[in-house]
């Protein structure tokens, strides 16, 4: 059983160990590079997606977002609702927000950012904005007349570097004038500047909910409640659980909220990734094909003689397939080593992207897909040239 394979393997092993080692080594290195290329870009893309996902959870939405019921503009009886939510198993914390438009003026410079009213202590349990204060301090629950400004909104003294309307480089301790949607204008002292690398945060302003309710004359209302769950990834199940616990408001997962944004990012990266993968695989096919093809053409006469002494064509083809698989296996092993070193380096020194530091994320499926695709192209690149050469009739091959 498997005599043919044993002979093919025997032939392949001798041709590799006693053949041109330089050629084999060079080919293996090329396949190693192809393997790294197959994994590296997708793992960076995955790293970016993971970063965006984590940032969406940590700075924008939490795990779940609760919004007013159909045909309602605000959530009422927020305190009662928060208690109800926080009692649900699997929920860590929840925080209400009241988001409205406002005009902020500083030294004649005016802009209309999103003004987000928060319960600072509750926010700390759900989001991580409080960890991103680069100047000044975070808000306290009982603060009035104090405002947090995102770094993009604060802007630069040299406004040429600002890409959006800003307050022209306002600092902590300065006072800005805020005009609310109901026309009320109040002075606010800047308590802190936030730099979270999330545009939606860095281009916004934050005051306490108590402060906003005193301006708008509302009590215990919000238009969003952010919820932090114990586990990330089971948001859909938690949404159903919340509904079962009698939450009648609309419940969104962070994926729902960031779907369009992520889709456009992932979609664009996928196109780059597909092109890169195709190019890598074509390089792998061409390199292995050329090496095996040159090898078989160079040994055309020898192949003819082997057939003449009774070595079946299938054995000869299999011996070249084994050689291609050796190149694949060695190239993959060398590629894995290179990749491991590269990933170790990039994990300790992540790439800095506008959204934050990105470390490559190696998903097992990506590894399996890269190995499988290289295996298939190696099979093809080993089979095709040997099949073509052994098709020739024996006498023509022997005559060279």
């Amino acid at each position: 059983m498997f005599e043919e394979e044993q002979v093919a393997f025997f032939l392949a092993s001798r041709l590799i160990t006693r053949g041109n080692k330089g050629t084999i080594l060079l080919t293996v290195m090329i396949i190693a590079m192809v393997f790294v290329n197959l994994i590296f870009l997708p793992s960076i893309i995955t790293g970016i997606v993971v970063l965006f996902n984590q940032q969406s959870i940590d700075y924008s939405y939490g795990n779940l977002v609760i919004e007013p019921k159909e045909n309602q503009l605000v959530i009422t009886n927020v305190g009662e609702l928060l208690q109800k939510i926080n009692r649900v198993p699997g929920i860590v914390a929840s925080t209400p927000r009241y988001t409205s438009a406002a005009t902020i003026v500083y030294k004649g410079k005016s802009t209309t950012p999103l003004l987000i009213a928060i319960n600072p202590d509750d926010e700390k349990q759900v989001l991580k904005i409080h960890t991103k204060i680069i100047s000044g301090n975070y808000l306290n629950d009982d603060d009035t007349g104090q405002i947090l400004i995102g770094t993009t909104l604060a802007g630069n003294k040299d406004q040429k570097v600002d890409v959006t309307p800003t307050l022209g480089g306002v600092d902590v301790g300065k006072t800005v004038e805020v005009t609310f949607s109901n026309g009320v204008t109040r002075p606010y002292r800047i308590k802190g500047i936030i730099a979270s690398s999330q545009f939606s945060v860095d281009a916004s302003a934050f005051i306490t909910r108590t402060d906003l309710e005193s301006v708008l004359g509302t009590t215990d209302t919000a238009n969003q409640i952010m919820v932090r769950t114990q586990k990330t990834g089971n948001e859909n199940a938690m949404r159903i659980t919340l509904m079962q616990y009698g939450i009648q408001e609309k419940i969104w997962t962070w994926q729902d909220k960031s779907a369009d944004f992520l889709k456009s990012i992932v979609g664009s990266f996928d196109i780059i990734n597909v092109i890169s993968t195709i190019v890598s695989l074509v390089i792998a096919v061409v390199v292995i094909f050329i090496v095996i093809f040159i090898n078989t053409v160079y040994r055309r006469k020898q192949i003819g003689i082997l057939q003449a002494i009774g070595i079946d064509r299938a054995i000869i083809i299999k011996s070249y397939i084994f050689q291609a698989l050796f190149i694949f296996a060695s190239g993959t092993a060398a590629g894995c080593t290179l990749l491991f070193i590269l990933l170790q380096y990039l994990t300790s020194s992540p790439l800095v992207f506008p959204g934050g530091p990105v470390a490559p994320v190696l998903e097992p499926m990506l590894l399996v897909r890269a190995i499988a695709s290289l295996f298939v192209v190696s099979l093809i690149a080993g089979f095709l040239p040997s099949w073509l050469t052994t098709r020739e009739d024996i006498l023509s091959a022997i005559r060279g």
């Binding site: 005599e3 002979v7 025997f10 001798r14 160990t17 020898q302 057939q307 002494i309 009774g310």
Partner: protein, 230 residues
Amino acid sequence: MIRGSSLTRIYGRGSVEVRALDGVDISIQKGEFVGITGASGSGKSTLLHLLGLLDRPTSGSLVIDGVEVASLNERQRTLFRLNRLGYVFQDYALVPELTAEENIYLPSKVRGMSAKECTLTCRDMLSLVGLRDRVSFLPGELSGGEQQRVAIARALINRPAILLADEPCANLDTRNSTLILELIRKLNKELNQTVVMVSHEEWHRKYFDRVIVMQDGKIIADGDSTQKTG
């Protein structure tokens, strides 16, 4: 052992048709050492290629060792070559990456012989051709005569019914040619090995039991080696 009737081989088509073999009848008995001679283009190699199942006759019938070989498919022909024929080429045709021993036992490995059996048989063969001390030498480390002796051992490893040799001394000097011819003669006598050998050297005749002389694709003489032919 071999019986060919009206063997014809035509190359090309239409106006460029070449009749390399033209209705040859041939019969070779077991244990004979037959030399096929003739000028270049006489058809001697074409005849050997047909006997070695490296080519198919355009017409005619060929029975080797009781098998009508013309009706065999490619796979059966390969198996027939492996099991019943031994072939020696003029340029030794060894695999350069295999040692003398590995080159010899390659055909027996294909037959499914165990590694131990392969090694033992192979060492016997190397002793038979006088190269017992060259077991682990690569072809590049052997002289032309030694390489040809390894090729002969490889041809005999599966105990073939017929040994076919296509000008095995063409690339050798007289001393090595004599060694090879004496070796083949010895194998023929001691093992009762049927041998068919193509040669264009007049002085090789003395080693043959029988000489077939060819010209223009036809046998023009067939007799024992002492007879004056051609």
